[in-house]
């Protein structure tokens, strides 16, 4: 049972992980992430990489929507910008994959700032529509700028290489994707301990008050768009290295809705929310498939009979979380932690 956390300095008060228990759990989590590829098969490694990519992008969207209060439905298109940039660089210049990912992130970031320009004048649903419009334009470019994007058939790229070793398997790419995602998530968590991050929160809570306090609205909003799009661009770049085929249909609007749903289910405005939401949205359909598959010995052709049911259950689960846990999975996690703080004296 924990009865309190004594802090003797401002530095300790500002620490990201402020208790020894938290730090030990973080070490355990990192150890689990390092040991995971040693025990997991190709299927689980594939899902691990996919979850990591989705966590990176959802965290980016959380910076913009959860922390700055700017609704965006352009996240998939920004991922597309990153993916196409990385693919083009890999195919035409053969530059190192880490550099490609950074350039992919930067190019998405620039586009994000342009798309974010209307955010000074419009917000809420209006901004969401503006971002949809931007993603339609970007999809048009993906499909028709054939010299760069390969047009309708897209680009097929070689794998990333690390000192001559091709990173062509989920087991190898895991060592690239997971560390980058961990760094991005830690970066986002730290962001909200800085002046810039707190400005985002101030704008979200009441933009007029924030402006009165001296926070430049346009710059802050554009910075948020740029950062969010950078995350999307890097996630898109990792997606490109993971699948190695990029077409205009790789990043549809429904993918942006997926990320928005992920941060709502996970918990908007919390870093943990982005992680839990993306993990939930990626893994629950797979978990439901496992249940359906597991029923096969008793129910012939369970896959065909229960697949539509599975889709309904997934939808119902999302609705269920919105009703029973409107503050997201992050809040459920906090409640679980509080329970163990007092356990076994109070349950």
């Amino acid at each position: 049972m924990r009865i309190g956390t004594a802090k003797t300095s401002y530095l300790a008060d500002e620490a990201l992980f402020d208790t020894a228990v938290q730090r030990r759990w973080m070490v355990a989590l990192l150890a689990a992430l390092v040991l995971f590829p040693l025990f997991a098969g190709p299927y689980w490694l594939y899902l691990g990489c996919l979850v990591a990519i989705n966590v990176a992008s959802a965290t980016g969207l959380n910076i913009l929507t959860g922390f700055t209060g700017l609704v965006s439905l352009g996240q998939a298109a920004f991922m597309g910008v990153g993916a196409y940039t990385v693919a083009w660089l890999e195919i035409n210049l053969g530059t190192p994959f880490l550099l490609n990912l950074i350039i992919g992130g930067c190019s998405a970031s620039l586009i994000g700032m342009v798309v974010g320009a209307p955010s000074l004048r419009v917000k809420g649903l209006y901004l969401a529509i503006a971002t949809i419009a931007a993603s339609v334009i970007l999809h048009f470019l993906f499909a028709n700028w054939t010299a760069v994007t390969g047009g309708a058939s897209g680009l097929t790229m070689p794998p990333a290489t690390f000192f001559g070793t091709p990173l062509d398997q989920p087991g190898k790419l895991y060592w690239v994707i997971m560390p980058i995602t961990v760094l991005m998530v830690l970066g986002a968590a730290n962001l909200f301990r800085t002046r810039v991050g707190r400005a985002f929160i101030a704008v979200r809570d009441r933009d007029i008050s924030a402006e009165v306090l001296g926070i430049p609205l346009l710059r802050t909003k554009l910075t948020s768009f740029a950062l969010s799009s950078f995350y999307a661009g890097v996630a898109g770049g990792m997606w490109a290295y993971f699948f190695r085929v990029i077409t205009p249909e790789s990043f549809p609007l429904v993918m942006s809705i997926f990320f928005l749903a992920a941060i709502i289910v996970g918990g908007m405005g919390t870093i943990l929310g982005g992680i839990l939401g993306a993990t939930f949205m990626t893994m629950v359909p797979e978990a439901l498939k496992l249940i359906v598959g597991g029923l096969s010995p008793w129910l012939p052709d369970a896959v065909a009979l229960l697949s539509p049911v599975r889709t309904i259950v997934f939808g119902a689960l999302i609705v269920g979380f919105l009703i029973f846990e409107p503050r997201g999975l992050a809040e459920a996690w906090r409640r679980l932690r509080r329970f163990f703080h007092l356990w076994p004296f109070k349950t």
Partner: protein, 404 residues
């Protein structure tokens, strides 16, 4: 009185956690089964779109594969080895298809695989070559896949989209030499696939491509496009890259404007039940079909009779596609085993390519050969709304290897 058993937050979370744990336990089960089956069974894995936008085809494909597997197993398997079909629903999403591939291939020693889309076929190709243990076909007829050098372990169970257009154009050139043709296609990879080469083929056959119209897939308001089409006055209008919409709307408006163009489609818009949904407007709608229809009784077709015996109700063209794909995969396995060779991807593909003048039991109306990655054969069918059937409008048309 309050409901005693109303679900609350704690119960909801508990149920969700319990379901999660059940998934974990059930995930372990197939691994044990896989170990039992690995030595004897021949495994056909499938990324099948049983939900999502392509579910209408996925259900048919699934049933077709299931039935042929059942027929093979009832006859004692292939050289005594049973065929095991392991499907996974993908909802027609590439990431889910790749996940299904990884899941199935890590649980079973997979020899054959059915993929659900062009994007999946392209994405999984490097892994297919790296593993070298299986051959793959699928729902895609993309022209890009018809390249044995780039896709050495894949094949298309029919003509590719360019070849489908080639078959249509060959028919048109014979029916009306020098005819004016228009293409209407969707703004997707699927829709754009055969258009450039189709235009070249038309010129080579002495046909005049007078208009090419691009629309979003499933678009509703096509009045501007129909006006454009009317100005071009084509003798034949070929739709590609759609399943149904906007074809009926196009035809209805065009007929209302007095156009006498003949409207044609490619495989995915040729299912009998789909065409009949067009109503009166669809009368006379034509298109290319690589397979016989479920109800075809012309010629010697024991497999069609068998299908009708197993399933007395109409089966879609997607069913025929799944059925034939499994038949060809099975034939490749059979030939490989009969030659005493190991079941590697290269050996099975070589066995598949050794198929010459093969009788599909009436699924395709002529004997087929697979010298490369496709079967460039098809027949033109025409909708007869009075009979509520697609009826043959030509004999079987074969193209050369290049589709010329």
């Amino acid at each position: 009185m309050r409901m005693k058993y109303m679900i609350d937050r704690r119960a909801f979370m508990g149920l969700t956690a319990a379901a999660g744990m059940a998934a974990g336990v059930l995930a372990m089960a197939p691994t044990a089964r896989a170990a039992e089956d690995a030595t004897t069974d021949i495994v056909l894995g499938g990324s099948i779109p049983l939900t999502g936008v392509f579910a209408f085809a996925g259900e048919g494909i699934h049933a077709g594969i299931q039935d042929y597997v059942q027929i093979v197993n009832d006859a004692g398997g292939i050289e005594g080895r049973m065929l095991k079909y392991v499907p996974e629903d993908t909802a027609y999403k590439v990431d889910a298809s790749v996940a299904a591939f990884n899941k199935i291939t890590s649980q079973y020693h997979t020899n054959l695989y059915y993929g659900d889309s062009t994007a999946f076929s392209k994405t999984i190709n490097p892994e297919l070559e790296r593993a070298g243990t299986m051959i793959m076909a699928g729902a895609s007829f993309a022209s890009e896949l018809n390249d044995p050098e780039k896709y050495p372990l894949q094949f298309i169970p029919g003509p590719d989209y360019t070849e489908m257009i080639g078959i249509l154009l060959k028919y048109i050139a014979k029916e009306k030499p020098g005819a004016k043709v228009a293409f209407v296609h969707s703004d997707t990879e699927f829709g754009r696939d055969p258009i450039a080469k189709g235009t070249e083929q038309a010129s080579a056959l002495g046909l005049d491509v007078v208009e090419t119209i691009v629309t979003p897939p499933g678009s509703v308001d096509v009045s501007t496009e129909v006006l454009k089409l009317r100005r071009a006055r084509p003798d034949y209008t070929i739709f590609h890259g759609y399943v149904l919409a906007p074809i009926p709307e196009f035809i209805t408006q065009a007929k209302q404007m007095g156009m006498e163009s003949k409207f044609m489609g490619t495989f995915w818009s040729m299912d009998n039940s789909m065409v009949m949904k067009m109503g009166e407007a669809g009368d006379g709608f034509m298109g290319v079909m690589p397979y016989n229809y479920y109800y075809d009784t012309s010629g010697d077709a024991p497999m069609l009779a068998k299908i009708r015996e197993i399933r007395p109700e109409y089966q879609s063209t997607a069913y025929m596609q799944g059925f034939l794909t499994t038949m060809l995969m099975t034939e490749a396995i059979k030939r490989t085993l009969q030659d005493g060779k190991e079941l590697t991807g290269a050996n099975m593909k070589a066995a598949l390519n050794s198929i010459r003048d093969f009788d599909t039991g009436g699924i395709i109306g002529v004997p087929i050969s697979i010298p490369g990655n496709s079967i460039p054969v098809g027949r033109i069918y025409k909708a007869d709304m009075a009979e509520k059937k697609m009826i043959p409008a030509s004999d079987w048309i074969s193209l050369g290897k290049t589709g010329e």
